[in-house]
Symmetry: C2
Subunit: 149 residues, 2 copies
């Protein structure tokens, strides 16, 4: 039997969150956090709506997952996020001791990889899952925004 709960399955859920952000005029990035194949947090970027630079999808997902678990460490959890986390989000993931981070598309300029943000030694980082979809959505957002201005 095919296991439906693979990385693409959960990244699609994160992409749905990114689309929800897009529809609100927010930079379209979405995230979910999963434990034992169960989604315990869903979030999307809300920096404009909340007037708050800290309201990235990952930050909200970390807070929501910890709230669900009743503890601040996200051991055995996996974060799926459509775009590679920034320094702030990678720094938060460091503190959370999350087991795995799966991102969609790379962010060469603002992403944690090129900026050398330190992840926790217990955290595995993996990328490239549905990268094209994540990247296209982001490009579409910025092209439309440019055309409106």
């Amino acid at each position: 039997m095919i296991n439906p709960y693979n990385d693409a399955f959960f990244m699609k859920k994160a992409l749905r969150e990114a689309e929800a952000a897009y529809e609100k005029g927010e930079i379209p990035i979405g995230a979910v956090i999963v434990i034992n194949n169960q989604i315990i947090a869903r979030a999307h970027n809300l920096t404009e709506t909340l007037n708050d630079v800290t309201a990235h999808a990952e930050m909200q997902a970390i807070t929501a997952a910890a709230n669900y678990l009743g503890g601040k460490y996200l051991i055995d959890c996996t974060l799926y996020v459509t775009i590679e986390p920034c320094q702030m989000c990678a720094g938060a993931l460091f503190w959370s001791q999350i087991s795995k981070v799966v991102y969609g598309a790379r962010d060469e300029h603002r992403g944690c990889i090129n900026l050398n943000t330190k992840l926790h030694p217990k955290t595995e980082l993996m990328g490239g899952i549905m990268a094209e979809e994540a990247s296209q959505l982001l490009k579409r957002f910025f092209i439309e925004k440019r055309n409106l201005n």
Copy 2:
């Protein structure tokens, strides 16, 4: 006439926040954000109380200051924080485009300087204001915690 609103004045306010954290059993770090000599945000570490690794003093101060200003960028603002910001907080400060960050004591292991977290080019970073007081409070916290276990 002596101007009472110098860096030590505002760092003392941040230290009071750190003491409030200490009294709650939280790692004692405090922060205030100032614009035109007016404090617009006060916060202290609440990671234990809120069960949330993102609840550092700086993060909460950034959110509160943006809320006060009605905009997410902290132009012309100064953050005073008792201990050098970590990667997460420095990453958030990057996005906020804050004008100045003043910390008390260095954090050699987890601080943004040795971990090379990128601050915004518009942000000036300055340290060493009441470093001894900030550092002593933190040391006292960890010694007492060790003795309790």
